[in-house]
Point group: C4
C-alpha cells in the first residue's frame, strides 16, 4: 500500500471525526432566554475546543510521522487502524464530558476520567505505531532523535495519566490538563515539519 492511500484514508477519518464534534453542541429550543441557554453550553464549547485541538495536533503529528516512513508493512496498517479506532471515539467521550461537566455528583468525575482515558489510549496507540515503525526499520530516524520522541511522548502520556487522577477531584481541571497537552504538542519537537 502506498503512503498516499494510508494518508488519504487517515485524513478522511481525522476530517470526519473533527467535524462530527460539532454535533455534540446542542441547539437550544424555544423555551427560555437563549443568551442564557447558549452560555450554559460552555462545557460543550470547552470540550469542542480541547478535542478539536487534540485531533488537529494528532493529524499534524501523524503527517510528520508518516513523512518519515520509507516503506510500510501490514502491521503498520493495523496499528494505524487501532489509532483511528480511538480517534473516532473522541466525539463520544467529548459529548460525555460536555453532558456531565456541571453535574454535582460522581458522574462529573467519571465522565472526565473517561475523556482523559480516551486521549491516553489514543496517545499510547500513536506511540505503538511509531515504536513499531522504528523497530521494523520502516523509517530513517536517528537513535538520539528517537529518544527525544519517546521522552516527548512520555510527557503527553504522563499528563493524561495525571488528568485521569485529577478528574476524581475536579473534572474541569482534568479538561484543562488535556487542553494543555494540546498546547504542548504545538511545538514540533525534534522532528521539524
Amino acid at each position: 500500500m502506498s503512503k498516499a492511500r494510508l494518508e488519504a484514508f487517515s485524513d478522511g477519518v481525522f476530517a470526519v471525526a473533527i467535524t462530527l464534534l460539532v454535533l455534540e453542541i446542542a441547539v437550544p429550543g424555544e423555551h427560555g432566554d437563549l443568551a442564557h441557554e447558549v452560555a450554559d453550553l460552555w462545557p460543550s464549547f470547552a470540550g469542542y475546543l480541547v478535542s478539536f485541538a487534540t485531533i488537529g495536533i494528532i493529524w499534524v503529528n501523524h503527517h510528520t510521522m508518516v513523512h518519515q516512513f520509507t516503506r510500510l508493512d501490514r502491521a503498520t496498517l493495523f496499528l494505524n487502524l487501532n489509532l483511528l479506532l480511538w480517534v473516532v471515539l473522541i466525539p463520544w467521550s467529548t459529548a460525555l464530558i460536555a453532558e456531565h461537566l456541571r453535574d454535582t455528583d460522581a458522574d462529573e468525575h467519571f465522565a472526565a476520567a473517561i475523556y482523559a482515558a480516551n486521549f491516553f489510549v489514543m496517545g499510547v496507540s500513536f506511540f505503538a505505531l511509531w515504536s513499531h515503525a522504528g523497530r521494523a526499520g520502516l523509517m530513517d530516524v536517528e537513535p538520539r532523535m528517537m529518544q527525544q520522541l519517546i521522552r516527548r511522548n512520555a510527557v503527553g502520556e504522563g499528563a493524561y495519566v495525571v488528568a485521569i487522577a485529577v478528574a476524581w477531584v475536579s473534572a474541569e481541571a482534568a479538561l484543562v490538563i488535556c487542553g494543555l497537552v494540546a498546547v504542548y504538542y504545538i511545538h514540533p519537537g525534534p522532528l521539524r515539519l
Copy 2:
C-alpha cells in the same frame, strides 16, 4: 508538510461541514399538512443556502490562497486549524438561527447575531492565516495586490460587523447581509483563479 496534505485535510473538513448542513433541516412527521410544514421550514432552507454558499466560497478562496504558497511553516498549520475550528461551527450556528428565526422575542436577534459573529470570526481567522503567510514570506504576492486583498477582506469583515449590529433590529436582514457577502466574494478579486 506538503501543501497536498494540507489541502486534502482542509478539503475533507470543508466537504464534511458543508454536507452536515443538511442535518439541520428537520424532517416533518405525520402531524398536519406536510406542504404547510415544509413551507414553514423556510428559515432552515435560507440558512442552508447562505451557509452552503459561504463555506463554498471560503473553500474556493482557501484554494486560491494555498495556491500562492511557496512553502509552509508550522504556524500556518495551526492558523489553518483555527480557521477550520470556526468553519466546523457553522452547522451549529446555522441550526441556531434556523430554529429561532421566527421567534418573536429577543432570541431571534441573539441567534442572528451569533450566526453573523461566527462568520466574522471565520473571516478574521482566514485573514490571520493570509496575513501570517504574507509576513513570513511564505508566498509570492506583490505589495499592491496584498493591499487590495486586505481592502477586500475589510469589506467582508465590515459587512459581518454590520450584520451583527443589524441582527438586533432584524434577524432576517442580518441573514440577507451574510448572503450578500457570499455573493460579493464570488468575484475573484485581484488574485485570478
Copy 3:
C-alpha cells in the same frame, strides 16, 4: 484551481452525502416484534437504494465530465457548488419520502413530488455545468457528441418531470421512476469511461 482539487472536494461531498443516507433509516427500539418493524422500514430501504444509486451515478458522470475539461474557469466552480447544493439536499428529501411513503393522505404525494423535484433540479444543475463548459470552450467535445449528451440529459430530466406529475397519483410509482432513471444512466452514453 486544478481539476484535482475540484475533484477532491466534490468527491468528498459526494462521499459524505451518500454515506449520510444511512442516518435516515430508523433503528427500531424495544417495543414490539423487531422483524415486523424492520420490514415496515421498507420505504426507508427503497429510498436509500434509489438515492444511493442516483448519487453514485452522478458521481460517475461527474468524473466523466471533469475528465473532458481542458481548463476551468471561476463560473465552473460556482456551477459545481450549485450542483453540490442539490446533491447534499438528497439525504433530506430521501428522509422525507421515506417518512411519508405510507401515509394515506396528500402528504405521501407531496413528499414524493419534492423527492423527484430534488433530482430534477440536480439534473438541471448538472446540465448547466456541462452546458457552460461547452459554451466557454472548457472541454473538447465534438458537436455531434454534445447533441447526444443533451438528448440523453433531456431523457433523464423528462423522466423526473413525469415522476413529479405521477407523484400526485402514486408516490411509489414516482420512486420507481426515479430508480429507473438511475438504471438508465448506468449506460455510459456517447462519452466512454
Copy 4:
C-alpha cells in the same frame, strides 16, 4: 476513470462510514449512576469494535485489490458502488444489534442475524467485484493465486453464514464469529501488501 479517483471516492465512503459508527454509541444523560450506565453500553462498544475492524479490513483489502487492477471498466464502477452500498449500511446494522443485544426475546436473535447478513452480502459484493475483474482481465493475477483468493473468500463467507445460523441460538456468539472473521483477514493471504 482513473484508479486514483475510484480510490479517492471509495476511501471517502469508507472513512465516513467507519466514523459514523461512533454516533451509534449513546451518551447517557443525568439519570442514575454514570459508571453503571456506561458499562451497560457494552453491546455498543462491542459492535463498534467488530464493525470498525471489519470496515478497516475491507478498506485494506480493497486497496490490495485495486492495486492489482491494470485498467477499469464501467461494470467495475457499479460493482464498487454495490459494495459501498452494503458498507454504508453497516452503521445501521451495528446500531440495530447494539440496541437489541440484551433483549431477552427473539429480537436479539433477529438483530444479530441481520448484522451478520449485512457482512455476508458485503463479502459477496466484494467477491463479485474481484471475480468480475478477474474474468474481464482487468488485473494480473496468476490462476493459482486466484484460487487461493477464492478459497480465502469462501472461508469468510462461510463463517458469516455460520454466524447467521448461530444468531438464532446466541446473538453474542454471532457477534464473536463476525469479529473472528476480521481477525482472520488480518493475515494478508496470497496477495502481499
